[in-house]
């Protein structure tokens, strides 16, 4: 990935990380801790991760501060204590809203950048 592409990815991630984290926690039946979530995201995609694992922690914390996630600390025998997160009802409501915003945005963007002859032609120009 080029440096420009990386920067574009970072800009995109600003809001998406929170959406993905809420999604991961809403899908999960059990509480998850940061490292676990990071590994789930990593497993979901081959190659370079879209998000740096280090960048999900501040987002988790800010989601918890907003009351969209609840958290508890559990001591671990194998290492440092872990903070487990669970999505709250308020978080689920936010996720539902954000999900529809994301779908609309994605469909809209796809109209212009999807695999249409128009885009193919313009990318060849460039």
């Amino acid at each position: 990935m080029s440096e420009l592409a990386r920067k574009f990815q970072r800009d995109l991630n600003a809001g998406l990380v929170a959406l993905v984290l809420l999604g991961v926690l809403a899908e999960s039946d059990e509480d998850l801790y940061g490292y676990d979530i990071a590994k789930r995201l990593q497993r979901a995609r081959e190659g370079d991760p879209l998000f740096k694992e280090g960048t999900i922690y501040p987002v988790l914390r800010s989601l918890a501060a907003s009351g969209w996630l609840s958290s508890r600390i559990v001591p671990s025998y194998s290492g440092p204590p872990r903070r487990y997160y669970r999505i709250t009802d308020e978080g689920r409501a936010v996720l539902a809203e954000w999900r529809s915003v994301w779908r609309e945005t994605r469909d809209f963007v796809d109209q212009f950048t999807g695999p249409s002859p128009l885009t193919e032609a313009s990318s060849q120009d460039a």
Binding site: Y35, D48, G54
Partner: protein, 320 residues
């Protein structure tokens, strides 16, 4: 990104040092959160790959976890956005300078509408009781540790006392943040080391352990001062407003069931109970009382803010 890979730290300690350097100048509580998150994650990563050296793990983490600069940027970005979202709160609007005399008046009395002034007032009032508690724990712990040090039990007792003291420091931090809005670490001070000996070494080498005890000793005298100042201020203010209202009502010839012969002195004068002087004097008394009460609230809010800063200096490690 090759340059960043070359600079990628080779050990967890190096990583944390670079992260701390990258966050230089940021809020100490944010730095503590970021370091704690990173250390927890990196240690979990090392634990998950037992066959590999720390250096090998950290090199492979360069891509997945992010360089210290990337991670620092993420924390600063989120903190900035959160701060921006909180900006219209009364606390930050109160710190803006008044542009007009009207604004100044509004700002002076706006203290009643600022939740921070009431929470600060609460903090100052309970600080006497928490202060007594912290002071007792600290003095009891220190003196018993010293006294028991001739016996073998003195050592575990001292370690237990230090643990309790650190935990209390964290709880106090949460309380102070809730009451004054001063940002304190959201993580408990986890000693992120697997060996208990290393953990102990970290705890005793951590300056914050000792500043926390200092804070607990300081909590009692400060609590006494805060409590006396606020109670005096509140009593003076309310003590002027209440009787002022009574005298005014009586001066308006309302039957309050007061002894008609009761002669009240205000400001060294004892006007006729139903005279116009009594009304004017009572109004002056009420106005003075309201001003006094407002000033007390301003003082409480200011003291709360100062106390928040002090708590942060003593209870958050990166600030030391």
């Amino acid at each position: 990104m090759n340059a960043a890979d070359a600079n990628m730290p080779r050990s967890i300690k190096e990583y944390l040092d670079s992260l701390r350097a990258a966050l230089e100048g940021a809020d100490p509580a944010l730095i503590q959160d970021a370091l704690s998150d990173a250390e927890t994650h990196l240690r979990a990563e090392c634990a998950a790959r037992p066959g590999e050296t720390e250096q090998a793990v950290l090199q492979s983490i360069a891509q997945s976890y992010g360089s210290p600069a990337d991670v620092a940027a993420a924390y600063l970005e989120i903190d900035r956005t959160v701060q921006a979202a909180l900006a219209p709160s009364p606390r930050s609007s109160a710190s803006r300078p008044p542009s007009t005399p009207q604004g100044a008046v509004k700002r002076f009395f706006g203290v009643f509408g600022d939740p921070r002034s009431w929470t600060s007032l609460m903090l100052l009032l309970i600080s006497l009781f928490t202060g007594i508690f912290y002071f007792t724990i600290a003095v009891l712990g220190l003196s018993l540790s010293l006294g028991l040090s001739i016996l073998i039990i003195g050592i575990p007792f001292f370690i237990g006392f230090i643990g309790v003291s650190r935990l209390l420091g964290h709880v106090e931090g949460r309380l102070v943040e809730a009451m004054t809005g001063e940002r304190m670490p959201r993580r408990s001070p986890a000693a992120n080391t697997s060996g208990w000996l290393d953990r102990l070494k970290n705890i005793f080498g951590d300056l914050r352990t000792w500043t926390t005890i200092a804070y607990q000793l300081l909590a009692l005298p400060l609590g006494v001062i805060y409590f006396s100042v606020t109670v005096t201020g509140l009593a003076m203010g309310l003590g002027l407003i209440g009787p002022g209202i009574l005298i005014m009502l009586r001066s308006l010839a309302l039957d309050l069931g007061l002894d008609p012969d009761l002669n009240i002195q205000i400001w060294g004068a004892s006007p006729e109970p139903t005279s116009i002087e009594a009304t004017l004097l009572s109004i002056a008394t009420i106005v003075f009382g309201v001003l006094f009460l407002t000033a007390t609230l301003h003082l409480a809010r200011w003291l709360g803010r100062m106390h928040g800063r002090l708590a942060k200096r003593l209870l958050v490690s990166a600030a030391a």
